[in-house]
């Protein structure tokens, strides 16, 4: 039976997600703009408050590089060999016209590479709206919060000047509600995967999450609902003898899907991760965070209070690594795989501190690096396989 949302089986749904993933010319975004007459604004990893854009009838479009599908022709002339891959494929997409459909791009304060890319974009694409979204590292409402609030209003003003609908409280409330529903649905899928990882293979979940980078939020929420409903009743999905892993470090440049499949084939169930991190950057609902206050305050509070502890956020020394250990416990993971992009400063600088926390908690871990266009997984497969085996052996002992 076909659902009201239009997906009658997982294969069909995943084919759609896959098609979106492969569509590096953003045809779906183009179509949305034609239908709705709104603007489309891209955003780099990791986090931007998409609610603000959506409330102004602006489609937020996640730009996470070109993955393994873009041939780098000019991008290497912009970046030295010791810089991660994401900016070179992103600039390649900009130069080859793939991002022409975007009316602007937001560059959040993730790292120095994305920061510098914002200025390069200004010079390369002078007609587009470009903004470096400086998110606070001070988390007091009156200090960092006031600064962040101002940033958001500035973005809203700039978008309005470019033809977006004016920001109203009512529209922002509705947008927050739409994203809250999306977050809840994603959380439900993660919960299902924690419980029954065989029902939600991560290489599928990954595609479904990636679809959320380009789909309008409501449509994506429907896709998530459909996917969950369909996999729950798919009895062919049976448990295997796999080791439960949490993967971390992949919050920005995204690993190739082949890498995820490799980990799964090597005997790992991924039971928690930080893939496509924008979706889970805010924990819990936003709507309820500033009761009786304008919805913008709730959005600000969400960033200050409920943002995930991450490598790109300042963490008090006594809390460093604590969140990772808690996530390991909560997900029932038996080990951690540090899986970071090569040359990714935030992830790689963070790693020794997280390792310290894991070691103190007696949690086994392994680590490797990738680039978004890595094509060879043999070494990773062997490493992950050995790690998974050792965990199974240990837990069976």
């Amino acid at each position: 039976m076909k659902s009201a949302h239009g997906n009658s089986n997982v294969t069909e749904l995943l084919a759609r997600a896959q098609a979106l993933h492969h569509d590096l010319r953003f045809e779906n975004v183009r179509a949305w703009k034609e239908r709705n007459g709104g603007l489309a604004v891209g955003y780099l990893p990791v986090y931007v408050p998409r609610e603000l854009l959506w409330a102004m009838n602006v489609l937020p479009v996640g730009v996470v590089g070109g993955g393994d599908q873009v041939e780098i022709i000019r991008g290497d002339a912009y970046y030295q060999s010791y810089i991660c891959h994401l900016p070179r494929s992103t600039i390649e997409l900009g130069l080859n016209g793939a991002l022409d459909v975007l009316d602007g791009v937001l560059f959040p304060a993730t790292c120095d590479v994305i920061r510098n890319l914002s200025g390069m974009w200004m010079m390369q694409f002078p007609d587009k709206y470009v903004h470096y979204l400086d998110v606070p590292q001070d988390f007091d409402t009156g200090v960092g919060g006031a600064f962040y609030r101002h940033e958001l209003l500035e973005i809203a003003g700039a978008l309005e000047a470019r033809g977006a609908r004016p920001l109203t409280d009512a529209a922002l409330r509705a947008a927050i509600a739409a994203y809250d529903a999306n977050r809840r649905e994603i959380e439900a899928l993660y919960e299902l995967r924690r419980r029954e990882p065989w029902k939600v293979p991560t290489h599928e979940l990954y595609l479904v999450l990636k679809a959320g980078l380009v789909l309008p939020v409501d449509e994506h929420t429907m896709m998530l609902e459909d996917y969950r409903r369909l996999v729950i009743r798919d009895d062919a999905r049976r448990p295997l003898d796999q080791a439960r892993m949490l993967i971390t470090g992949s919050f920005c440049e995204q690993p190739p899907i082949g890498l995820i499949k490799t980990l799964e084939r090597a005997g790992c169930y991924i039971v928690d991760d930080d893939l496509v991190a924008v979706h889970r950057w805010i924990r819990g609902d936003v709507a309820s965070l500033a009761p009786g206050q304008p919805p913008l305050d709730a959005l600000v509070e969400a960033f200050l209070r409920n943002g995930v502890p991450s490598a790109i956020r300042y963490i008090d020394q006594d809390k460093k690594g604590r969140d990772l250990v808690e996530r390991v416990r909560a997900s029932g993971a038996e080990g951690v795989v540090f899986c970071a992009a090569s040359f990714c400063d935030p992830a790689l600088l963070d790693q020794p501190m997280l390792v310290g926390a894991l070691d103190a908690a007696g949690i086994p871990w392994t680590s490797f690096k990738y680039a978004e266009n890595t094509g060879q997984f043999q070494v990773i497969r062997e490493q992950a396989g050995t790690f998974a085996d050792s965990i199974k052996l240990w837990s069976g002992a």
Binding site: A77, Y78, Y79, Q80, S81, Y82, I83, P87, F107, A109, C111, D112, V113, R115, N116, L117, S118, G119, M120, M122, M123, Q124, H131, Y132, D134, P136, Q137, D138, D140, G142, V143, G144, A146, F147, H150, E151, A311, I312, Y314, I315, D316, Q317, K320, S342, F343, C344, D345, P346, L348, L349, D350, Q351, P352, M353, V355, G356, K369
Partner: protein
Amino acid sequence: MSMANPTTSKRPPAEARKDESQERQKRMIGEHFHELARAPQTGRKCAYTFVPGNLTELLRSFDVLPVLPEINALQSGMRGKSRDYIALAEKLGHSEDVCTYVKCDVGMLRSGNVGPTGERLPNPDLLLLSYTGCFTFLKWFEILAQEYDCPVVMLHVPYQGDGKITDAMRKYVVDQLRSKVIPAFEKITGRAYDEDLLKEHLARSARAEDDLVWVLESAKHKPSPIDAYFGGVYYIGPIFSAFRGTEAAIGYYKELRAEVEERLREGRGPVIPDGELEHEKYRVVVEGPPNWTSFREFWKMFTDEGAVVVASTYTKVGGVYDFGFRHDPSRPLETLAEYCMGCYTNLNFPSRVDMLSRYVREYSADGFLINSVKSCNSFSAGQLMILREVEKRTGRPGGFVESDLVDPRYFSASNIKNRLESYFQMIAQRRGSDAGPTAGPTAGMTAGGAR
């Protein structure tokens, strides 16, 4: 990420110098490290902090001594110690991909935390994390926070993403100073914030800054009496580190200025490792930090060709003073905020390109060179675009070499030398055809360097 201490490098380039200012700087630095070493006995408090966005006047107003881990790292590079320190840090699990200053510092810490003068550095009473122009700083102090039992205070300095400082940005920094940074100092020292004292320090800063700018701008003369990169790292020493706002810094810059005035009057070229440059053949602007492990060798590759660096961006990482900014005692916290936001690596790309283009023109440079260091994404990510843009705007050729700050594995002397030689030859050939350093647009040497 800054200046060298001429007292301690293995074969210090300053040995060949006769300038009294150099001797004075040696003494100042020596005394500072000695005071630090004695801090556990004297009870003086110390704060670890960074060069860009440093709040030296505020620290001094609380009688707190600064320790700058970047300086310790570069010192370790010059003293030939960084290789082992980095190896130790990598053994401890730090990635080969990340900034080598951090690893050098971790290695030094784990090897007894002995500073450049051979005396042990005190443990910090406070880690003042001034997040200015570099994301790595944040991680660096998270790492240090695990090593020391002391408070950390974060000062997040917003980036000039749109190429300007807005009221909201200024207010954000001032609010943090008032509500976080000052109370942290009050707590560790037991003293109350004394704004009048801070103002006195700031007034002294401005006086020294005037003389520093005069010295840097002396390179507009032909021949230039200074080298504004290799020599420049010495000149910025006091003001970028522990001495901004002190009488000692005023004295140093006054003396330095007098020496440079004399060189100018006499039409002499800059001091170089082997004495003095007699014939200025090429004038170049340099973008990017120097390499510290082969500092002297690198410098010599320039002087052997008769090349003088007339302006550099690296000498602006701890403050950009030559476009008019001065610390203003009448607005003490606002001026500190503006200082922090104005440091070079806190400027956006269009501003960096403007600045370099302006230097090339105003200093009548034949071209500009980028030393792209593997460690530093803040500087390096996107420099190839800077290269092309500045070439386009100025019509002068750009050159590109790659090395690292303190990891000797990434300094390939023969590669860099070859590249520099060809670069200078190209300038010479163009002069031949153009009869002057005003060549037309060029593809320059835009390929990568010493890989």
